[in-house]
């Protein structure tokens, strides 16, 4: 008993500087974080979001429909909101189709693993771009070569559940909310250029119900919002969905390439 007490005493003596050093390091880290305005990601918020995103990432195919709104700050400072509806169909690894009908434009997109085509529905003008590979490769190439990606493109990636949280500087659970009558967890995250909020349904199989992105570095800090009306994780999508056939009288043009 006496031997044990001595041993415990020795351990305590040895551990004392360790505990002091660890405590100092931790306190320093916290102070640095506070000084830089960084709050770590709330694990519950990250886990809730990841659960919803894992469902998208794990689906072999899926479709969704969403109501879109995006702000247009005018030079006068007045903010105008444009609205639209988007429908998306994805069949992994290389099938993508989308239809966007908005106030500013109406477009259709097709990707069949070989070619990406964009059609301006209103003007009946389209352009095709050879892009053999997977959908994830297409999204990388498009931004680099054509200067744009389809709306909500982060949700299309197989790696969506990890990429979305990358470079997030902070995140927390705001609380609960109702989106179209569905109880949801309301989460908020911050990134370098964007702040974003998501609402995840509290179902047994949670899905994204709403997403709001704030482009905080843009003049007027415009918002881009998507309210998801319907998700289908077991759609029947034939090859014809992703194959483009030019409409009658359509004019073919080109994509202006990004100057490297």
């Amino acid at each position: 008993m006496e031997f044990l007490s001595t041993e415990v005493l020795m351990i305590r003596k040895k551990m004392f500087p360790v505990l002091v050093a660890a405590g100092l390091a931790f306190a320093l880290g916290v102070q640095l974080a506070r000084a830089e305005g960084i709050t770590p990601i709330d694990p519950e918020a990250a886990r809730t979001l990841k659960t919803a995103l894992d469902r998208i990432a794990g689906a072999k195919s899926f479709t969704f429909r969403a109501e879109i709104s995006n702000d247009a700050p005018l030079p006068s400072g007045q903010k105008i909101e444009f609205s639209g509806t988007i429908e998306v169909a994805v069949r992994r690894p290389d099938g993508f189709w989308s239809a966007f009908d908005g106030e500013q434009r109406s477009t259709r997109s097709w990707f069949d693993g070989k070619t990406f085509t964009l059609l301006n529905n209103g003007k009946n003008v389209y352009a095709s771009w050879p892009a053999p590979g997977k959908l994830d490769d297409l999204l990388d190439e498009m931004k680099e070569k054509l200067g744009f990606k389809p709306p909500l493109s982060p949700l299309l990636r197989e790696t969506v559940s990890t990429t979305v949280l990358a470079k997030v500087t902070s995140g927390f659970a705001v609380g609960r909310g109702l989106i179209a009558g569905v109880p949801c967890r309301h989460l908020a995250f911050r990134g370098e250029k964007t702040d974003w909020q998501v609402w995840v349904s509290e179902d047994q199989e949670p899905v994204l119900k709403r997403l709001v992105i704030t482009f905080k570095q843009e003049p007027g800090a415009p918002h881009y919002a998507a309210t998801f009306i319907a998700w289908d994780f077991k759609p029947r999508l034939g090859d014809n969905v992703f194959a483009f056939t030019p409409p009658q009288g359509a004019v073919q043009c080109e994509f202006e390439k990004v100057q490297q």
């Binding site: 660890a22 390091a25 990601i41 105008i80 003007k123 982060p154």
Partner: protein, 263 residues
Amino acid sequence: MKHRNRQLLLAVVCAVLAALFFPSPEAAIAGSEDRTTSVTTREKGRTTTVVTHENDWDTWSDPGQDLLRMQRETLSSQEEQAREAGRVRRRDEVEKVRQKSSAEHEAYYDAILEDSQAALRAPLGVYYRKPGYVRTDAPASDGSAVEVGGISYQYDQGIFWLQQGARSIVVTAPVGAVVNTLPQGVTRVPAKTGPVWYFFGTFFAEKGGGYQVIKPPVGITVFYLPDGYSQERVNGVGLYRFGDILFKPVFVQGVLAYQAVEP
């Protein structure tokens, strides 16, 4: 003494280990600047690190936002986008109603469509009349007379009028005409030759203290065409014509635009 040194050494080693074990929060969540990043979360003493290769939200930009960014670099082209959106919506609405209507109502809805388009040609805040528009009232008092090639035009808010007896008719802007003011709603377009201003199919460049109507530099890109353009095919390529100017369609960052080509 020896014991104290060992304690000190142990403390230093532990401090280093602690520093490594508790990286700064920024390093823990932000990762490096390259495409490989990591997200570390700690929960109930368990540390989970997810390594990934890209952040999409921060690099993602909606094509609409890109367009708006480009538009903000101009003077007031958002207004034109809003007008264009209004035109498309009105046409769609009328078209839907037309499809549902019976044949006997077709003429009636045609009239509505025509009225709608006519109203939208002079959108709120910007005065515009397409070539061929005729008026019989007196020319605007704040307009100015411009002479090009021995022909006298009346210039008013970006529109050129030709007097024909008691009436005036809108014509395409005569190349070479020099005016003192640019119209409201003009769009500044970058060009290799210097800044160019665009207004409903007319291109202006600075000259002296005024602005001269010019032929558009080949390759210059605009984001709308005025009412009154026509479509044609040249060597199998679909082009748009407005007056003497030919445009080819092109997608710029996913947005349909029009690029001036050699006539």
